[in-house]
């Protein structure tokens, strides 16, 4: 005999420890996330302007740490390095701050994870320059960038008043696949899409795998959003990221089409990166980062508000004993 046991989400450590809301910490975490988004745009500008190797050395720029003459591709590459250096300092600060004030142990480690990720990202950026942009290194640099952005956004969410102080409304999910599974699947297909797009941008792969996978991404994300809005629309914490995810998906598909036209069709014979291609491609990367971060937030909120109800097999003898 089976007994349906509802797993009380309250037992999970993510919410078990009460943490006081720290406004300054939250504002700083939000600032780090916004600055990281700016860094992603700066990185996309470097790639789109074909300026990745305009400064041939690393970590110095033309043998020095001072500001070089910012002409041509150098202005994109050096600005990217300057913002990246600032982000490293901001991440060290947020990691130390989080470690010193957070009661939630997992939050302290999330700060350390952010620091580790940004260090790996800096090393990948250096390798990209020193090894002349091998596609796998440059693509890893692009993927880790968005991973770091997601971590920065989640730190901002976890330090927010809403997360810290709310009593979450919980509805158990007994459907298959569960909404949480769908949200994780959405993150997975977005990561695959991110890597395929980066490999194309860095000349390691043709454009068609990225375009073909966009159909899969659209299907999985629509499924996730429709399930969320159809069944759990009353839970604001999951409804809002689901709507945003859907809106970003539509925008991203339009931008992807525009980027394809300007880069692959029109830009095939261009002698230099042209403005329509740069704008559409950079926007495509930026909205892609927002889409991945929004999907990660949706997954986290689904985990919190729509936990999976699971059936646990109870031995027959125990069931009989309790019945008696």
């Amino acid at each position: 005999m089976r007994a349906l046991l509802r797993n009380s989400f309250e037992a999970i450590s993510l919410k078990a420890i009460e943490a006081p809301y720290n406004r300054g910490h939250h504002i700083f975490a939000t600032f780090v996330a916004c600055a990281t988004f700016l860094l992603i745009i700066a990185g996309a500008l470097v790639t789109s302007n074909d300026a990745g190797l305009s400064i041939p050395d690393w970590p110095t720029s033309f043998g020095s740490f001072s500001v070089p003459v910012l002409h041509g591709g150098v202005k994109y590459e050096w600005s990217h390095r300057a913002i990246a250096g600032t982000i490293v300092l901001l991440t060290v600060s947020i990691a130390i701050w989080t470690w010193s004030i957070e009661r939630r142990r997992w939050m302290r480690w999330l700060g350390i994870a952010a620091l580790g990720t940004v260090i790996v990202q800096a090393i990948l950026g250096g390798l990209t320059v020193l090894l002349f942009q091998p596609p796998w290194v440059s693509s890893a640099h692009a993927a880790v960038a968005q991973t770091f952005f997601c971590i920065a956004v989640t730190i901002a969410v976890f330090t927010g008043r809403r997360w810290v102080e709310e009593q979450p409304r919980v509805e158990f999910d007994s459907r298959k696949p569960s909404l949480f599974t769908l949200a994780l699947l959405s993150i997975f297909v977005l990561y695959v899409q991110l890597i395929l797009g980066a490999m194309f941008r860095h000349h390691g792969m043709s454009w068609w795998p990225h375009v073909a996978n966009s159909v899969v991404v659209a299907f999985v994300l629509c499924w996730t959003a429709v399930r969320t809005l159809a069944v759990y629309s009353e839970i604001e914490a999951v409804r809002r990221p689901a709507i945003l995810m859907l809106a970003l998906l539509i925008a991203q598909l339009c931008l992807g089409f525009t980027a394809f036209i300007t880069r692959v069709a029109w830009g095939k014979h261009s002698v230099q990166p042209e403005l329509p291609m740069v704008i559409s491609t950079v926007s495509h990367v930026a909205v892609g980062a927002l889409l991945l971060a929004t999907t990660a937030i949706l997954a986290i909120q689904v985990w919190r508000h729509v936990p999976v109800a699971f059936e646990e097999r109870v031995p027959q003898a125990e069931t009989n004993a309790s019945a008696a």
Binding site: D50, G73, L130, V271, Q272
Partner: protein, 266 residues
């Protein structure tokens, strides 16, 4: 125990990445030092050149045409660097009255195991008006390419070869020429400047001195060819390659023309 081992594996991973970065940085530094003092790539010492009787040598010359309406030269936007004041037209397909410039013509086959002396004089590659001059260059393996910067801006020279070693060096204004060599044969080896993304040229590295680049009137001339049967290759950066067979007798002077059409090479 688990925490300790995960810390150890994380530390080892970070150290491994640091070591990789350090080794890449060190090799880069070595390369840079090497390039400023000596040629980048030293070809293996060449065996003694096979003697050629100057009394019997032949000449192959001709004109390369572009068949059809000439494509309009693409405009270059140099506004991102005020120091760039060159002609703002791309040189990827240069056609004048049906004559096609910048075609690399070389003896692809027929020289057998002959070896040739590498010229001691360097070939010159100049960056002027934020464009490369010449746009297409021929050089023998091991021959020095002297790279000059005549602009009042910094360029970087970045060959992206398939068979030779890749390098990327900056060259500020009014600095000494860079001296480079290429060790292996490679046709249409792209060279670009990442600071000025429209700047692109092609180096062609061959083992024999029998090559030429078509001028603005589409003409080329290959002198000093020993009598024999040869395959002459005509290579254009966008329009691809055409091969033609030719037999030259002693003191012969043969004309071998070629023609490219729009859309070839795609």
């Amino acid at each position: 125990m688990n925490t300790k081992s995960s810390w150890m594996s994380t530390t080892i991973g970070v150290l491994a990445l640091c070591a990789l970065l350090l080794s890449a940085a060190c090799s880069k530094k070595e390369n840079t030092e090497q390039s400023t003092n000596a040629p980048t790539e030293q070809a293996a010492p060449a065996p003694a050149a096979t003697p050629i009787d100057p009394a019997t040598v032949a000449t192959v010359s001709g004109t390369v045409k572009f068949d059809g309406a000439a494509p309009k030269a693409a405009k270059i936007d140099m506004s991102q660097d005020p120091a760039c004041k060159g002609t703002n037209e791309a040189e990827n397909v240069v056609v004048d009255s049906g004559d096609l410039a910048n075609v690399f013509v070389y003896v692809k086959d027929g020289l057998g195991n002959r070896t040739f002396d590498v010229p001691k004089d360097p070939v010159e590659l100049e960056q002027k008006g934020c464009q490369y001059h010449p746009h297409v260059l021929g050089v023998m393996t091991g021959q020095t390419v002297e790279i000059k910067n005549a602009d009042q801006t910094t360029h970087n020279i970045h060959p992206t070869p398939k068979d030779n070693r890749e390098w990327n060096e900056s060259q500020p204004p009014s600095t000494a020429p860079l001296e480079k060599t290429f060790a292996r044969e490679e046709i249409m080896l792209p060279v670009k400047c990442n600071q000025h993304p429209w700047m692109k040229m092609y180096v062609n590295v061959v083992k024999s001195p029998f090559f030429a680049v078509t001028d603005k009137s589409g003409k080329y001339e290959i002198k000093g060819l020993p009598p024999g049967d040869y395959t002459i290759a005509f290579v254009h950066e966008k329009l691809g390659e055409q091969d033609q067979k030719v037999t030259v007798a002693p003191k012969d002077s043969k004309t071998v023309d070629a023609s490219f059409k729009a859309g070839m090479g795609e």
